[in-house]
Symmetry: C2
Subunit: 457 residues, 2 copies
């Protein structure tokens, strides 16, 4: 990767312009760290509008709060973009218990997976079969799987340096596991939580049914409980009972929140910064993705407070329903395409409010090389802030904009702690560090400034 | 920095050797992340031997525990190196109160500074004068300072990207502030805690008296309380009363802990990894510097468990009394020099157990360029782990070894959270992330492996 950049360095604008840019980027960081509002905003979002799953009253509260935060920034026009999202509700019954085993009876720390079907009112009671993969269910076949509870227990690989790689290598069990189990006649699926941590927090997250007539309850259990259950299964049969009452409550209004500063020279070239405003219904959605939303709002505040007048249109977009449907991202892209808009760049922050390590870049193959070469020229300006560039996806919400052939970018924070909190009751403001959050906002504002000033073509 | 490395890349050993090294470094990381013992060891050190100021019973417990941990690693000879350290004891009385102000009376969150003198038994009561620097005390002069309590309130600069720079820019108030105040007739000094966080934790740390006949109590107060006190002083005079009972209890035995694997080819070339075993008497010394000690022990465990046979002598050294005297580092270097030893390299971890970002390197000017050029050749092997190299100090404990003209290196973790915990009751194991700790140990083991295999001359 390193060598690739060298040719570009030489051709980067030097002298006065670069000094001016270095100074502006230093001012952006000063503003974020000294006068930053991101931590206070995120505290309010978390404590007053936590558990804001799309469609919920909490989500609507969060939408109005962030609209008003955006509206408080001079020059920003803030509005809501209507969006319909399927509202999934956990309900008040959720109990998973080992009822027969060598260790007797005990309760498991469990959470229904998002969009999961519920158990019948009387619950489900069945023997557990542990598997390590979706394929294993198929190999076992209907005879052995039928009537059983399938327990997916392949851990995230702790040896991966980047935890998102470990997540990517295990999450098929959560997303497709319950559906696969149902296809082979299982009555429910338990899934080991998606984390390398060893603790008692169950991690929810979306599950998807391939066949809507074959839906069995999908339930996450904590890693400590998964280890215990696995140990017990080595000693003999284990029977588990599950009772859940989650349901889809149908389509609800869950608007995407937008704040915009119109560009002075190229108003038709949009630079988007954003995250997703919805979270899971447990916890406060602090890192996922309150942090990314508030950092995006903060980008507009920082640039405005420094008196910067953008040449292009800057748009902060807080998407709806990323967690269980992506309705916000899809609706936004459809409306944007209908209007014939062009997003020159879209930058998403959806990997937690941790110390930023850089950005990943993506674009349509017809333009990617040019864009990446051009942004790479700015690397010397960002390296002293510990930022690096790499190729890779921008983010789920901005993905549908790829067809507009602009640049997609993702903020890449340090990933080590993310899956300690992801999709749990523990994703709370106390676990966000103020400076780390602020530095992420400053990194995004710096990139927005450079793209706005120089373009990328 | 980047350009400097380029010439070296080309000359770095290529092909088979590099593949072998990449594989070994991957195995080191796997071992740290999959079978790592550092987190469990650190948990024990923190929960059973917290508050281990040099000379205390807790320190001796920590020395025996880490000696035994080192001794449990096959091939390691573990022993204690005697060291006398001044044992400073906080005592059981510590109360600082605003007793007269526009807001009435209230208590301040306070901690005596390390090595501070105590108040008289009846306490001290005096008016407070706020200053921003040591120079300001001199400018005020004896007339205005005499009989008063000097309150040093220059905050750490939050705009510094590296928090250690912000610390370096403010800590003179803690180290020399009480002494300066005493010279001008003040009766005590309050010091704003060394952190950019806004909270209620007072941060202790060493203070030094220039003149042993002029010692007034030096006391840290939390940043929230410092802000409150400063606000009150704008409204009118404020009187504070302080009562403390800290004292120096004289010299005590506080051994440095050493574990060694003798080199097979060059046993006289020592590669040291270490941290300091003592902490402050409050909190558990988790990040400062339990993390660095346990990472150093883990380096030996990792290499041994991979079957690696070092060519040079590897020595893990857990120094005594870094916090309030540096007796461990000084004694170790003196004994080493007396024996005519040569430390080819010494690597210290004393900046917290956070995600490693790289290493800083230092050496005698006569050899630095050569060493730095040679280690820089290894950078391509470490960059994919997010590690970078820079020039800068190695660490306080290994500083006295500089005259041996070996290489000094410091592990450089992400610094954003360090001063949230540093020298407080909150420096606890709960605030250490397992993976971040493990990655630091793996980074150190990787560097040790490369130095051991190739040398640096």
């Amino acid at each position: 990767m390193l060598f690739l950049f060298l040719a570009f360095f030489a051709s980067f604008h030097t002298g006065k312009a670069q000094d001016e840019d270095a100074l502006m980027i230093a001012r952006i960081h000063d503003e974020a760290l000294v006068n930053g509002k991101s931590y206070e905003w995120l505290s309010t979002l978390c404590t007053r509008h936590g558990g804001r799953i799309a469609g919920s009253p909490a989500y609507l509260g969060a939408a109005h709060f962030t609209q008003s935060s955006l509206g408080s920034i001079p020059g920003v026009t803030a509005y809501l973009q209507p969006c319909q999202a399927n509202y999934w509700v956990r309900g008040d019954k959720e109990k998973v218990e080992v009822v027969k085993s060598k260790a007797g009876k005990f309760r498991l720390n469990a959470l229904s997976l998002g969009n999961s079907a519920a158990t019948p009112t009387q619950g489900i009671k069945a023997e557990v079969i542990e598997v390590r993969s979706l394929d294993e269910v198929e190999k076992l076949g209907k005879d052995k799987v039928s009537g059983k509870i399938i327990f997916y227990n392949r851990p995230m690989d702790p040896s991966k340096i980047r935890t998102f790689s470990a997540y990517g290598g295990a999450v098929d069990q959560r997303v497709y596991g319950p559906s696969r189990a149902a296809e082979f006649g299982a009555v429910a699926a338990l899934v080991r939580s998606m984390t390398t941590a060893h603790d008692d927090f169950p991690h929810t997250g979306v599950t998807v049914y391939r066949d809507s007539t074959k839906t069995v309850p999908g339930i996450a259990i904590s890693t400590n409980d998964a280890d215990r259950l696995s140990d017990l299964l080595k000693q003999g049969p284990v029977t588990v009972s599950c009772k859940t009452s989650c349901k889809s409550a149908g389509l609800r209004e869950a608007p995407t929140v937008i704040g915009e500063i119109r560009g002075s020279e190229y108003p038709d070239e949009i630079i988007l910064v954003g995250g997703h405003l919805d979270s899971w219904d447990v916890g406060q959605g602090a890192h996922d993705d309150g942090a990314g939303c508030i950092q995006s709002v903060e980008v507009l505040r920082i640039l405005t407070s420094l008196g910067y007048k953008p040449r292009r249109t800057l748009r902060c977009v807080l998407f709806s329903n990323e967690e269980n449907g992506l309705a916000g991202g899809r609706t936004y892209a459809r409306i944007s395409n209908d209007k014939g808009e062009f997003h020159l760049a879209a930058i998403e922050s959806d990997a937690g409010g941790f110390t930023p390590r850089g950005f990943s870049f993506d674009a349509d193959t017809s333009v990617f090389k040019t864009y990446y070469r051009n942004v790479s020229k700015w690397l010397p300006l960002l390296e002293s802030y510990g930022l690096h560039f790499e190729t890779g996806g921008g983010g789920a919400d901005i993905g549908p904009l790829k067809s507009q052939k602009g640049l997609l970018a993702g903020l890449r924070p340090d990933s080590q702690r993310y899956f300690d909190f992801h999709h749990t009751a523990n994703d709370r403001i106390e676990n966000v560090n103020r400076r780390e959050l602020e530095l992420g906002a400053a990194a995004m504002a710096s990139l927005v400034y450079l793209i706005d000033k120089y373009g990328i073509k």
